[in-house]
Amino acid sequence: MKDDLRSYLLDAIRRVEAGGVKSPSGSHIAGIFNKAAKGFEKEVRSYVSRLLQICGLDFERDVRAAVKGQRFAKLTLGNCLAAIKQASALKQTLVTASMPGGWKVDAFLESLRKVNDAWVQLKHGDEVGPPVLLSQMKSMLKLLPLISS
């Protein structure tokens, strides 16, 4: 899954950056972004599962209320952000120490938030400019190896 998503993102970014008549149009890029974000969301959900384990936290007991009662299997990217924040609030030292690639918690969450914000806008029927979508696809590509097992 991770490798498929990475390949997909690499290919999509290459095609979008190529420009010209063979380059995907704006709404096509939105579709590509949506497809990538769905795969990315699954990877982040798996990362949350591992993070909770590392921190000795129980999803039902410690986190579920912070994600508006959502079941783990249904966690959205936005819910995952809330779950990581909750884990950080409860086990700050462990979460800081386990940040992928030595990232600071706030910077890591901010990167995830920007991907999520673009996606939420698309899901609400708002238009997100291709440069923003491209930038957030690059962000997913950068974050992917860090959050994958």
């Binding site: 008549v21 063979k22 995907p24 149009s25 704006g26 709404s27 096509h28 939105a30 579709g31 590509i32 949506n34 497809k35 769905k38 698309l122 899901k123 609400h124 029927g125 708002d126 238009e127 400019g129 291709p130």
Partner: protein, 124 residues
């Protein structure tokens, strides 16, 4: 937009729209919903589909909205005789007036296609 417009022209046909890389579930843009509302269509409940989720063999005709999509379909092995190629610019991020012009252009090109292929609209 095209799905609604073609459905109006071809009442007896089953019309479905799909994107060549569209993950399921995105709504139409607010501008698309707004412009189609002006034309008397409610497309607010529509959600995007990926073409991979459709059995293309069961469709008599596949209307590609742009040359790039027609090329993609040919490369995917779709019989060129079943592909109708339109040439509609993507209005994404171009404002409401461009969406209005695009809807008008889609309607014009679809009417021309239906006229040529089926001898005119098929309304109940």
């Amino acid at each position: 937009m095209a799905e609604a417009l073609l459905t109006q022209l071809m009442d007896a046909a089953e019309v479905q729209s799909a994107g060549i890389e569209a993950a399921h579930g995105l709504p139409p843009t607010k501008h698309a919903v707004s412009v189609m509302n002006e034309l008397g269509f409610d497309i607010g409940a529509h959600r995007s589909r990926d073409i991979g989720s459709l059995d293309l063999a069961k469709f008599d005709l596949i209307v590609a909205m742009a040359p790039l999509i027609a090329q993609w379909l040919r490369e995917a092995g779709v019989d060129p005789g079943r592909i109708a190629q339109l040439d509609v610019s993507d209005p994404y991020c171009s404002g409401l007036d461009v969406y209005r012009a695009t809807a008008k252009e889609i309607d014009r090109q679809l009417r021309s296609l239906v006229e040529k292929r089926y001898g005119g609209p098929d309304r109940k």
